[in-house]
Symmetry: C2
Subunit: 229 residues, 2 copies
């Protein structure tokens, strides 16, 4: 059984010196990879330069990506070659299009015209008190997975911040349907600390709770193996 895990967070460049980054240490991805490798499963870990990673070892392939575009390109190649995908990476929702001064925005008769502009300079410099950054929605990577490989078992992730358990489950189950996922690991940033990581693995009817990253890794593998039987 070949497992594809994504971990860490993507970064979208504003210019050559700045970017918008989604925070993610990669620690859950590392723990999952290590646990599954210990069970002699093959693991491909798609992650970022700054994310924590397992030591190089037999059965483990690590592929580094940066932004959503490079993630898409990488996954399109890898997804058809795997049986399971655990998509724990924090993926940027929006990507920078154009950054300018507040004055240019105010002076623009039609703001839509600014969406056609791009910054030519390597380092956007300004002396203005305010700047305005226009961002465009990135493709929803998770929605492509079952198109690329209808047979893959897909475990998606949904991270919200300070919501009720009801809202968390509702959003997770919407993602389950929308992305044809087999499970969604639903978690709230308020339940994640250095020593704990509260989360629920949900499908259409069930939910399984976990209190730590090790438990999350175990419950995901348990449910994946159950489905394969």
């Amino acid at each position: 059984m070949k497992i594809l895990i994504t971990s860490g967070g993507t970064s979208e460049a504003i210019d050559q010196v700045r970017s918008i980054t989604n925070h993610a240490t990669g620690s859950l991805g590392k723990i999952m990879a290590e646990k599954y490798l210990a069970k002699e499963l093959e693991v491909t870990l798609v992650t970022t330069k700054t994310a924590v990673k397992p030591e190089p070892q037999l059965g483990l392939t690590i592929v580094e990506i940066t932004d959503v575009a490079s993630l898409m390109e990488t996954l399109e190649q890898l997804v058809p070659k795997h049986d399971v995908m655990i998509h724990s990476m924090a993926v940027s929702d929006y990507s920078p299009v154009y950054m300018t001064s507040l004055d240019e925005v105010k002076a623009s008769p039609n703001i839509d015209n600014l969406l056609e502009k791009t910054n030519a300079e390597g380092k956007i410099s300004s002396t203005d008190d305010y700047q305005v950054l226009f961002l465009k929605k990135t493709p929803k990577v998770i929605s492509f997975i079952k198109q690329w490989n209808p047979a893959i078992q897909l475990i998606g992730f949904k991270l919200l911040v300070n919501v009720t358990k009801e809202e968390l489950f509702q959003v997770a189950r919407a993602s389950l349907i929308h992305n044809q996922a087999d499970y969604i690991l639903a978690n709230d940033l308020a339940d994640i600390g250095p020593e704990r990581h509260g989360a629920y693995l949900v499908d259409h009817e069930h939910s399984y709770s976990a209190q730590a990253k090790e438990e999350i890794a175990d419950i995901i593998l348990e449910k994946v193996l159950e489905k394969r039987r």
Copy 2:
């Protein structure tokens, strides 16, 4: 002689899961700290969680910061206690104020009103095709150093991208005057690679070139010691 070095890049939070980060690995700061410690100088390294750092050792104090506000607070305490400051950190020029949909911007009769808004939610969510992020200029940290300690020797850094040597020197010397720095280390991203780091240490009349991070570390210390004699 007590040397204060800043390294790495600051991050400004957009919300609890995203931030704008200035790229900087911290490797030059690490090399400078190690070289100066080897000469039995005392070093305080102000840096970030993700930056590379020297091993803990006698004479070295490491202080971690995140954003410009935490950098300001930290330096205001530390600058008066040091003889030399080498400010190689990549500091964010702008910090997020408010993120919203393009539709809200278009519908706003006065864009200035949006600058008074803030995002209450922990994770800004949107289904819009375009989002707009308003950013406000951060305080210029380097301009405060001589106010906090008029006697400190200040070495500032100026990183540009794809400019002529003439423009680089012009901008560096403007910074030298404006911030009452003793030297500015002027460099262009196009001259920085895995194996090389082209740079010029400039004052009002002179410039000294270096081709690698080790050379930059050496020339800075050489000039600092010359001025102290």
